[in-house]
Amino acid sequence: MADAQLRIIIGFESAGGTAPTGWSETWYPAGSNADDALIQAKAYVAKRKELLGMGATVQFAKVTNIPPNRQSKIYFFEGKEGTPTLFTGSGDQYDPTQVDLLMRVQSTTPAARRQWAISGLPDSVTNQLIQSGVKDTFVTSPIFKQLIALIKSLGWGIRKKTANGPPPVFTFASITDIFPIMVRNRKRGRPFELFRGRRLA
């Protein structure tokens, strides 16, 4: 299948242990309509926020064309566009140890798979992971199921490199299943400086 036409980047920030951190998730929607992709991003965030601990927030969603025509647009979920902080954590304390749940993302192409680290999990999830393990936590949590079902229903996919080039050649493979494989710690970078008014302009 031909390469993806668009890319969605979701930006997060959290209090962290001793210093705030920021990270992003990258997703590839099917189709070429950028406005539709932004709508999909908002739908994803509305569900993704359920798996964020207190103090973690979704800051922005950015939709961009795959270059050479790099058209892009940013949508901010907090503050700047007057939107109240809708997408904050569930109320559980954010886990300062920066524990991630590592997921395997599989697609229509067996060789095309990727890892996805769900960061900023609330204590209610990480506690459950300790008590009953990764599988049971995933299986018993409706939030996980709903989030995975949403990603599949949106038709998002994986971008798989098929030739190194230059330039490299990619193909798009629709996501068929997502399931957890392990829990791990992961260091994340500095925040994107949203609240300090420090954005690229």
Partner: protein, 158 residues
């Protein structure tokens, strides 16, 4: 206005003229003012740091074919980040020609400054507004109106 998100800033040449990739300008990314708003629509001038493949060839905008130099992110203009300069379509298709915009103090395009534009940095407060210019520049309070000119200047009320 807010064009992209990032953790640090830099200076690099960008391509910006429609249909002519040889024309470049030196663009400096800086941290936006707290009052800045996101650019209202899609544009070609996002940062190349978000590209997956490096370098990525692009038609217009931030190109990794040019060397990047770290910048402090300090703002050198007086824009509050709520307006943009030039036609909206130029940000999606490229500028029609490598022209220049009228600029005020600090290099900020005049259209990006608040009204009354033209406020000098460090100079006296002299707003350039047509109906008040003469008054603020120390002229006498003589209202030049066809109804009152004669009266105010000492004419009789006849």
């Amino acid at each position: 206005m807010v064009m992209d998100m990032g953790r640090s800033c830099y200076t690099r040449k960008m391509k910006f003229v429609r249909g002519d990739q040889s024309q470049t300008f030196l663009a400096t990314w800086y941290f936006a003012a707290a009052s800045a708003k996101p650019f209202p629509g899609f544009h070609l001038f996002s940062s190349a740091v978000w590209d997956i493949v490096h370098p990525t060839p692009v038609t217009l905008g931030d190109s990794e074919n040019f060397q990047k130099k770290w910048s402090t992110g300090r703002r050198f203009n007086r824009s509050d980040g709520t307006t943009f300069a030039g036609p909206l379509e130029d940000f999606l298709e490229g500028a029609a020609a490598p022209g220049d915009l009228p600029r005020g103090t600090g290099g900020t395009p005049v259209v990006c400054l608040k009204d009354p534009f033209g406020l000098a940095l460090g100079g006296e407060d002299v707003p350039v507004v047509p109906d008040l210019a003469a008054l603020r520049k120390g002229a006498t309070d003589t209202i030049v109106s066809s109804d009152y000119a004669g009266l105010k200047k000492g004419g009789t009320t006849s």
